[in-house]
């Protein structure tokens, strides 16, 4: 049974079709990434899955509960971390956690030890009784994730979990997320516009652009699909090597460039040794050899025809900016 099943989910805002017949399924225990630029429909999809927004058409089931007819059961079985912080800064971390537990009807006897355990898990135990306003961005995120897990959801939604964090904190958070997924067996669905994040964390990625899913698979398969790896080879006798390389079974194509031979092949790392051996058999010296593996960036470009772009600021983005300035 998939943890999340989405079928032709569609959302219109007036004339604008924000989410267009999106279909996917997430197996239990996976980390699934919705990858796309701002305004692609990622957050809208999450909002519908968390029953905050009603779909225009189509349907979705979370833990087998219908988002249209069983919103309360859906809400009880998921945890959410929003793109915008939703902590109360005037309260302590523990009070925030406690409030959450009460809202989700977690009995007091369970609540207290569970809060301790989760704070431990995200490494905030020693700061549990500090006000959230004294927390750094990364700590706030960790607290929000811990809070989202308090009522033991089977699925955790993370909307741009590392947005606005510095690279080091981001790395840290990634290991926390991976650990949670492994140790707690929580299915995680996250939205991101960071390629690296999707690549590092997700066992499956759906690329979403203008409300449509344009490709969906494991990151490796997606990269394979766009035509494999590229090897740039420079030798002491390129003209002679070109023919030999073209005869290799693994090679899809090889062509002459003014700075060497460009070889296209799948799983280049496995054939690098073969290339070098081939050269030495022919008595040709290898001047340089570089393997370029396609990144999700290349994948995104391949499927959408453009690089991941920043959309112009909406009213909400402006408010977000104002808030950041205000807090400074």
């Amino acid at each position: 049974m998939p943890a999340v099943r989405v079928e032709r989910l569609t959302k219109d805002f007036g004339e604008l079709r924000a989410v267009n017949e999106v279909t996917f399924a997430i197996e239990s225990g996976r980390i699934f990434g919705l990858l796309g630029p701002n305004g692609a429909g990622k957050s809208t999809t999450l909002a519908m899955l968390s029953t905050v927004l009603n779909p225009t058409s189509g349907g979705a089931w979370v833990n087998d509960f219908d988002i249209r007819t069983q919103p309360d059961q859906v809400r009880r079985s998921i945890g959410i971390v929003f793109q915008d912080q939703s902590l109360d800064e005037e309260l302590t971390a523990r009070e925030n956690m406690d409030m959450h537990g009460r809202l989700y009807h977690v009995p007091r006897a369970v609540r207290q030890p569970k809060i301790r355990e989760l704070m431990e898990l995200v490494g905030l135990s020693d700061r549990a009784d500090d006000f959230v306003k004294t927390y750094s961005g990364g700590m706030r995120r960790r607290l929000e994730i811990a809070r989202g897990l308090l009522h033991e959801p089977k699925v955790l939604f993370l909307d741009e979990p590392t947005l606005g964090l510095d690279p080091q904190t981001r790395n840290h958070l990634w290991s926390y997320i991976a650990t949670l997924n492994r140790d707690k067996q929580v299915t995680i669905i996250l939205t991101t516009h960071y390629m690296e994040e999707a690549d590092r964390l997700c066992s499956e990625v759906a690329i979403i652009d203008h409300g449509r899913i344009v490709a969906s698979d494991t990151p490796e398969a997606l990269k394979r699909e766009i035509g494999g790896d590229v090897v740039a080879l420079r030798t002491s006798d390129d003209a002679r090597m070109l023919h030999r390389v073209q005869e290799m079974p693994a090679v899809k194509s090889a062509e002459m460039r003014n700075d060497g031979i460009l070889v296209k092949l799948e799983e280049a790392d496995r054939h690098v040794a073969g290339l070098v051996t081939l050269c030495s058999e022919q008595g040709v010296g290898v001047a340089s050899l570089a393997v370029h593996k396609p990144t999700l960036e290349d994948v995104f470009l391949h499927f959408t025809g453009h690089t991941i772009r920043e959309q112009e600021a909406s009213g909400k983005d402006r408010m977000r900016m104002a808030r950041r300035l205000w807090r400074r």
Partner: protein, 249 residues
Amino acid sequence: MDIVYTIWMRNVKRYLRSKPRIIGSLGFPLFFLVILGFGLNSVVKGPHMGRGYVAFVVPGIVSMSVLFTSMFSGIQIIWDKQFGFLKETLVAPVSRLEIMLGQTFGGATSALIQGFLILVISLFLGVRPASALGVVLALGFMVLVGITFTALGIAIASRLDDMQGFQLIMNFVIFPIFGLSGALFPIDGLPAAMRWLTLIDPLTYGVEGIRYGLTGAAQIPPLVSLGVLGGFAVVMVTLGARLFRGVQI
């Protein structure tokens, strides 16, 4: 009930911890009290001002303080629903009504404390309430005013997406409600048209009720004030709950 209590508790904790805000929002009413009260004390004489204008205006300033605090705590959810804890409550498996009631009672509680502080300060300015029972009655009216206007604030905030309309609300809702309420002047000396306006202003009944409690005299019978203000409270809470249910995040 547990949820209402949780949200209420959160609001009260926040309020009590924001000492600068408490002190800051005492400034404006205090300014009014001192400038108007003492400035006009010797000039203004009226049929209802047997104990001087200061004594007359204290209930008005208390009402103002309650009005402002409750409206602000209601309207502040514009911010809170998008960038704050409220968003977390809106996706929890709890009903919107519980959240709305928790917010309303929370706002009303802060407003009550704020109004009570003005009352205490006025003691030091030499204005003695008529009786202890009267003070209790006044506090009761303050609670009703607090509930009415926090709910109105929530109703307005439910329909707004950003703070741009805030100035508009300030100038065309809060100030008129305050100005027309008879907080600063006796209402029966007004021209007919304006008197009519004061009588549809919920705060008028709050001011009159609090004034009756503190000074022992009012131009509207206290039971009428209680009934009308109670009615307004029910209407506003219903309206607020209805609009709050439609909030999209």
